[in-house]
């Protein structure tokens, strides 16, 4: 993607990539309201065969999704979950917000479970079951959640914190949303989040979960956002984050980032390890599915397409792909922890999203989660421990050995010495 000479001004607003039209829920229609892919249009990028091909591919995809949705309008879309996942993951994602509004609820109801080897059998079952019924005994069903009154919700222990965070989300809204509309959305968002938290009394809200709910609300609207968010909280990656401490959930997942890097980019991994960078730079990536750090609305929803359609660990693979993509900047950055931390927390505004997603999916096939967490993790620990072991361990050990040998020799010598003296 080259944006070197962009005729930035004089363009109609709807053809902008960074300022998409209002992501309101709209009825599927003939007319394309949200022009997410027109950034590849003739007047935007220098016309060239590659740009044209990309544009056409995206247009074809948009038409294909539209045809698909029209064809199966009357049926239960979860029957076609594989097709929908394919649409979501492949280049361009679900293209338009109106498609997303229709497809996200289906994807969220059929989330991919942990694809660990021992989980494979059960994940097929849950694909079916979770779509039809809530087999989670204790959790209230959606009707009950919607029935909770505002006062009941306000009594929730997390209401205040959620309110604080939601009031600070101004910059997360696409700029073409009017102030009044934004106010409405913000007032809808607080009860939405607290309702989701009420799904399980053991859920602990974390700052960042509001970013997830906000994105879903923007795309799906108030009514559909609740089931989507509760499904994500119950069956998705966020279940762990909401139930366990961050240290035992997200931080451990992020540790895998180093395991991945050590296998694909050993030099990069060494640099990051040598300055003790840690993983805090990417903390918000899995916690908010990148919605906290990405700067463009279209990039955020594109990532959500993929994450809704793939294994809960994919955000970690995407994080690795992002780090690898920024290889050159990392290597040329000052070799100090703070600067690398800042470099990585600030996401560049232009990201080759499709390439990164493709690499992440490729990485997840190359190193599936089950191997990553076991064998590869152990191997990585060995790599980390290797060069330092001698300096830590050998000094006391040799010292002991030396003392032992010296002691024995000394004892033997004095024994002989005294033996020779004694007879006299």
């Amino acid at each position: 993607m080259t944006y070197s000479s962009i005729p930035a001004i004089n363009l109609p607003m709807h053809s902008s990539f960074s300022e998409p039209n209002s992501p309101l829920k709209e009825v599927l229609g003939e007319k394309w309201q949200t022009a997410s892919c027109s950034d590849l249009g003739d007047n935007y990028v220098k016309p060239g065969p590659l740009a044209k091909a990309k544009f056409n591919a995206l247009r074809n995809k948009r038409e294909a999704i539209d045809r698909f949705l029209k064809k199966h309008k009357k049926e239960d879309l979860s029957l076609y979950i594989d097709e929908l996942r394919d649409f979501a993951i492949s280049s361009g994602g679900l293209v338009d917000d109106e498609f997303r509004a229709a497809i996200w609820p289906v994807l969220a109801a059929n989330l991919v479970q942990n694809d660990d080897l021992d989980d494979v059998s059960s994940s097929y079952d849950s694909d079916f079951e979770s779509a039809q019924s809530d087999f989670d005994e204790e959790s209230p069903i959606f009707e009950e959640l919607t029935e909770l009154t505002l006062d009941e919700l306000k009594g929730h222990k997390e209401w205040n914190q959620v309110e604080l965070d939601v009031h600070r989300t101004l910059s997360r809204f696409p700029p073409n949303i009017s102030d009044t509309h934004r106010d409405v959305l913000q007032t809808e968002l607080i009860p939405l989040i607290v309702r989701v938290l009420s799904v399980n009394p053991r859920f602990n809200y974390y700052q960042g979960f509001h970013d997830i709910c906000l994105t879903v609300l923007l795309v799906c609207g108030e009514k559909d956002a609740l089931p989507v968010c509760s499904n994500l909280a119950k069956n998705g990656a966020f279940n762990n984050y909401l139930l366990k401490t961050l240290e035992k959930s997200v931080v451990r997942e992020l540790d895998l980032l180093y395991v991945i890097l050590s296998r694909v980019e050993p030099t990069l991994e060494k640099v990051m390890r040598s300055v003790e960078l840690g993983t805090m730079f990417g903390l918000s990536w899995p916690l908010t599915w990148f919605s906290h750090s990405l700067k463009q609305y279209q990039q955020i929803v594109r990532f959500f397409d993929v994450f809704l359609a793939s294994s809960p660990l994919l955000p970690i693979y995407v994080s690795s792909a992002v780090v690898v993509y920024r290889r050159a900047s990392i290597l040329s950055c000052e070799r100090e922890m703070p600067f690398l931390h800042r470099l990585l927390t600030e996401m560049p505004s232009e990201l080759p999203i499709d390439a990164i997603i493709k690499d992440a999916v490729y990485l997840s096939k190359l190193m599936p989660p089950c191997l990553l967490k076991t064998n590869y993790m152990n191997e990585y620990r060995k790599i980390v421990a290797k060069p330092h072991r001698p300096t830590v361990k050998t000094i006391p050990r040799y010292a002991l050995q030396f003392m032992f040998v010296a002691g024995t020799v000394g004892a033997a010598a004095s024994f002989f010495f005294f033996k020779q003296i004694h007879p006299l």
Partner: protein, 309 residues
């Protein structure tokens, strides 16, 4: 396109191996100062019609995260505010200094008391338009020259929510040179919770009689409120804990100099407290050993508990 990728056998990241980020990200030690002028030259119309967001040119990034705000400031109504004024004591760009020191300062306090705004005010000289909840830890830096010595202040702006307190923020207490506690004068809870934050600090060896200076800032003093934390009470608390108290506001323009002076006071204190402390080889090795032992313990723990996901 995905099929294309699957067919490729080599695990190379050929798609973008040569892509290099724009140089500003690599070289800028003050991203805001360096980016703002270039941005205003790129799109001059944004200053004339800055009150309507829709009229900004197409390629202005979607303003989302606070880091974004720091690198590309959103159009500000008054043109004078969009031109970065020279920061006090800022080092001239053409001079190099023999004496250099870096100070690590951590800012802690409850959620939404204004930690991000205070650090932003100090490092970038203005009040950020929109801030979001901080997730994890953000880093900001400012360089000052005092007595011919280049001092770099690294501010670590932490997340305030309790969930982040133990597991995440804890990593950042190591080797800090100063701690800034922040509370909201209009929010009693944030004042009451200071005790918890102090306890948390003491867990990491930052006790009141140590040489690490600690200061207390009551933020948002421009906000009218009946139930505000009184200055006397705060002063008593500060005295008890051997801290200096400041009441200020990161937002009010009239208090801007005050925020500046608070941090510069701290900086002077830091500058005098440890004259020329250079880490010796022995010290470094000792630290390294401690770290390794800690790390070995950590990995041991992880192995015991196993991986759950």
């Amino acid at each position: 396109m995905s099929e294309h990728h699957v067919n490729l056998p080599a695990p190379q990241f050929s798609t973008y191996a040569t892509v290099i980020d724009p140089p500003k990200q690599v070289t800028a030690t003050h991203p805001d100062e360096m980016v703002t002028p270039t941005q205003s030259t790129q799109n001059p119309p944004s200053q004339d019609v800055s009150h309507t967001v829709s009229s900004t040119p197409v390629r202005v990034p979607y303003p989302s995260a606070p880091p974004a705000a720091s690198s590309v400031p959103p159009p500000v109504p008054t043109p004078s505010a969009s031109i970065p004024k020279k920061m006090a004591l800022a080092p001239p760009s053409n001079k190099t200094y023999k004496l250099k020191r870096t100070f690590k300062v951590i800012i802690v306090g409850n959620a939404a008391v204004g930690k991000t705004c205070l650090s932003f005010r100090f490092c970038c000289g203005r009040f950020p338009e929109h801030t979001e909840a901080t997730i994890g830890v953000d880093f900001r830096e400012r360089s000052c020259v005092i007595e011919n010595e280049l001092l770099r202040v690294q501010l670590w702006d932490t997340a305030g929510q309790e969930r982040y307190r133990q597991s995440i923020v804890a990593h950042y207490y190591r080797n800090v040179n100063a701690v800034v506690f922040v509370y909201d004068v209009t929010c009693r809870e944030s004042f009451n919770d200071l005790a918890l934050w102090i306890k948390e600090c003491e867990k990491h060896g930052l006790v009141s009689d140590s040489e690490v200076p600690r200061i207390l800032i009551g933020n948002k003093c421009d906000v009218e409120c009946q139930n505000r934390v009184s200055t006397d009470e705060a002063q008593m608390f500060a005295d008890r804990n051997n801290m200096a108290l400041f009441e200020t506001s990161a937002k009010a323009a009239s208090e801007a100099d005050h925020v500046e002076s608070i941090f510069l006071t701290l900086l002077h204190k830091l500058q005098q407290s440890k004259p020329m402390h250079v880490q010796s080889q022995d010290e470094r090795q000792q630290k390294e050993q401690e770290r390794l032992i800690l790390k070995a313990n950590e990995t041991g723990n992880v192995e015991e508990e196993g991986f759950c996901c």
